[in-house]
Amino acid sequence: MWFYIVRRFNLFVLTVAVLYFLVFLMLVALPGDLATNISGQQQASPAQLAELTQTYQLDKNWFNQYISFINQRIHGNFGISFTTNQPIYDEILKFLPATIELCVYATLVALIVGFPLGMLAAIQSQKPADFMVLGVSLIGYSIPVFWLGVIAIMYFGLELQWLPVAGRLNLLYQIEPITGFTLIDIWLSNLEYKQLAYRDAFAHLVMPTLTLAVIPATMVMRITRTAVREELNANYIKASQSRGLSPATIMFRHALPNAMQPIISQLSLQLSTLLTSAMVTEVIFSWPGIGNWLIDAIYQRDYPVISAGLLICAGFIILVSVLTDVVLIATTPKRRSAIDGSS
């Protein structure tokens, strides 16, 4: 077990090192001075330039530069943005909560919708309900996020005027960004229109959340369906049926816990899909999150921000996949033995 965790950790460190190396290469290759690209300091004075050379060891060879680049970044020094001249680290902290908020709600919706439907399809295998679920998930999975978002804006926003189409909250509600999560911030505020503010925040959440939830929901559906169906066909289920256990007990006590393992491991792999769709969704709904920030940076050719965004997003995905791996191994002896056996 410990051996396995150490191996995973090594893999994590190595992957992140490669990621940093690629980003470092990108900064070298991009037009402009490396000192400017890496620090975001434009038109640096000679004194500042000397300091930058010192910090990033720009007078040494590329390997030293690479190491000091990693060193600065993991200590939270991401340089400053070209466009705002603010430390990028602070900007990340400002935009990250919005993205997390959106992703968490979308994941919740995806699980709440996808999980029962997937189970239903597995139970009703090869019956109309199964085909319905399969069909719906295929359609949902095939619809591009950007198209769905725009259509939703057109119809529910502009045509019916039911829902707001941009932002997180009507700006007339003065909410101090304490945590960065709108709903929590409203709760913490001492606003006199709290009830209205909640409704407004929810109204702003509906369309982006549902748009973002569609693809994960279809994936949850299909993964759950396959996993549960496999378990239901296993011999031990047949045995427990013949022993006269109630279907609910079979489902929730036996089949489902066993089906959870493949579901979780496959879902964690879908995190990158969720993040990329979140970026597109954020841009469409002007959601002030990391994705919107990153894509703005690309338009503005804000190299330090682009590199920081890459590091954060890719690093996050690597971290989560390693963590789920470790958690799965820790909870599933079956998998562990398979790995140990092969090594």
């Binding site: 926003g157 700006l171 007339l172 509600y173 279907p247 503005q300």
Partner: protein
């Protein structure tokens, strides 16, 4: 198996359905007659670069500051076209036109903020402080926040004013070195705001002078509550405003750079008023009965300027050849969707100094090829056009304009490279004069024609960075001075006609179009006339009670 299905059904019923019902329950609230928190939201197109309009000429900054946070000595009334009292309730000019005496309003309080609470009302010291900051290079605030005052430098403010004298706490005199008929209009411009001396002194004592421009204190109808960069600016009404406190509870600038997003927010009610709708969106706006589209012939011009220090643009023939190769009609159709008029001089036809007898550069590629051949460039050449993707009042889409120019100039054998930067970077890089040509424009700050000449063509403007042709002539400068030293409109018109003719021959820049000015707002918002000279004012805006008119207007 039946039970199992039942349990799943049970699960469905009590988990998913309530969720959707719950969502549905909060859906339609938004557009109900019942209003969200009170106040007005304005969708603005960008971040202000500072909160002190003295330091800039960009419209976005003046929109967010001039009429919300500050007052001027005198104000310009666009409806009457005349100068009205501001912080000075009364003024007179002596016979030789060189001494202006202003009688200042009493009982005008300044704003307060976290770090400053005023102990006295506005008086002559504040006027001296505000103007001396600009004209006196020894003033402690002169170099704060960059030390450039582009508008004032372009109109030669510091060389014009001999001295400003405080006669008593509520009376000042301004002594000019020579007569300048545009002086009052310049004092009424968006940039000539009055700051608080007491605040300045306090900040100087605490060694944080730059805060005067980032944490503004003024006398205007609103005070700055909070500012989140690239997100929003929040203003609260100044309850003791001398002109009568605003009736709205708060004012929010929602910073929304994308035009389509502004329109969407306007349609869904997240915004009440929006800046700069794109010409392509006007049709949608006209169809919506909840919205009101205000149109105003703009005092602006978009132009294509050459860097006259860079060959081959130092030759007038080359510039004329390019002028003949440009199809302005096509640009107006494609970029402005017809909501602009072709410009044949820098001055819009509305202005009283407009010269309608200029020889026009008709679209004629053959002629321009011939002109190029005359100077030995018959085989064509390569050039750069610098531009920025940011939407401006005078040009909704400069990149598209540049692309059209690229196509049109290719017809005469000129290969064009388009170089674009974000707005702030763009303005910074322009000052190094490395470009061959640049697409820019100008929005007038007041009705005086002088505003189109000295800021764009004078030698003083070359130093302050608003003269983008990298060229100025003594002859023109003398004509400009001659024009402003007279108060007789007929004499001035004659001078300006001469100036326009000279510019038409020299052609340091090619005027392209005068754009119409638009503003969209919800019908329930009233008291917001559209100002042709830029600068939006919310002091008298109000939301009428019939907010319910939204229902049924679908």
């Amino acid at each position: 198996m039946y039970l199992m299905i039942n349990s799943v059904k049970f699960f469905l019923k009590y988990s998913i359905l309530p969720f959707f019902l719950f969502l549905a329950g909060c859906e339609p609230n938004h557009m109900d007659g019942e209003r969200v928190a009170p106040g007005i939201v304005y969708c603005s197109e960008g971040d202000p670069t500072t909160f002190n309009p003295q330091l800039t000429t960009t419209g976005t900054t003046t929109d967010a500051t001039s009429y919300q946070l500050y007052n001027r000595l005198v104000e310009y009334d666009p409806a009457l076209g005349s100068i009205m009292p501001g912080l000075a309730h009364h003024w007179h000019i002596n016979e030789n036109g060189k001494i202006y005496t202003f009688y200042l309003r009493k009982e005008v309080p300044f704003h307060s903020n976290k770090i400053f609470t005023p102990t006295r009302h506005f008086n002559a010291d504040d006027v001296l402080f505000s103007f001396n900051r600009i004209i006196d290079s020894q003033h402690p605030y002169n170099q704060v926040s960059g030390g450039t005052y582009p508008f004032f430098q372009s109109v030669g403010f510091s060389s014009l004013i001999e001295k400003i004298v405080k006669v008593h706490p509520h009376m000042i005199t301004i002594h000019l070195k020579e007569k300048d008929s545009s002086f009052l209009a310049n004092l009424a411009a968006n940039f000539a705001v009055i700051l608080s001396k007491e605040y300045g002194d306090q900040l100087l004592a605490s060694q944080t002078p730059a805060k005067i421009d980032t944490m503004p204190i003024g006398t205007g109808p609103f005070y700055l509550d909070s500012y989140f960069q690239s997100n929003h600016i929040r203003y609260k009404p100044n309850k003791s405003y001398w002109g009568g406190a605003p009736t709205i509870e708060q004012l929010v600038f929602d910073i929304t750079p994308k035009s389509t997003n502004r329109i969407a927010k306007l349609l869904t009610g997240d915004c009440d008023v929006s800046a700069l709708p794109q010409s392509s969106e006007l049709e949608i706006l006209r169809r919506n009965l909840n919205l009101e589209l205000q149109i105003q012939t703009g005092f602006n011009v978009s132009y294509f300027a050459f860097n006259l220090k860079k060959p081959p643009f130092d030759q007038p023939k080359v510039r004329q050849a390019i002028a003949h190769a440009i199809n302005k009609r096509a640009i107006i159709e494609a970029v402005y969707y017809g909501s602009a008029t072709e410009a044949d001089s820098i001055l819009p036809p509305l202005s009283w100094a407009y010269n309608d007898e200029l020889t026009q550069y008709k679209y004629n590629p053959e002629l321009s090829k011939q002109l190029l051949a005359e100077v030995g460039l018959g085989q064509g050449f390569e050039m750069d056009i610098w531009t920025s993707p940011v939407q401006r009042i005078y040009n909704p889409n400069a990149i598209k304009t540049a692309e059209l120019l690229q196509g049109q100039l290719a017809n005469i054998g000129v290969k064009v490279n388009i170089i674009s930067y974000g707005w702030s970077v763009f303005l910074g890089k322009l000052n190094s004069y490395e470009y061959d040509s640049v697409l820019l424009g100008w929005t007038a700050d007041n009705a005086d024609p002088d505003n189109f000449f000295r800021p764009i063509f004078s030698c003083a403007a070359l130093a302050s960075g608003s003269n983008r042709t990298n060229w100025c002539s003594q002859e023109l400068d003398q004509l400009f001075t001659k024009a402003i030293s007279s108060t007789n409109q007929k004499d001035r018109t004659a001078v300006y006609h001469e100036v326009l003719e000279k510019l038409n021959v020299q052609l340091p820049l090619i005027p392209i179009a005068h754009a119409l000015r638009f503003q969209v707002k919800n019908r329930s918002i009233t008291g917001m006339p559209l100002n042709p000279y830029g600068g939006i004012a919310f002091a008298k805006s109000r939301r009428s009670a019939s907010a319910g008119s939204r229902i049924g207007a679908q």
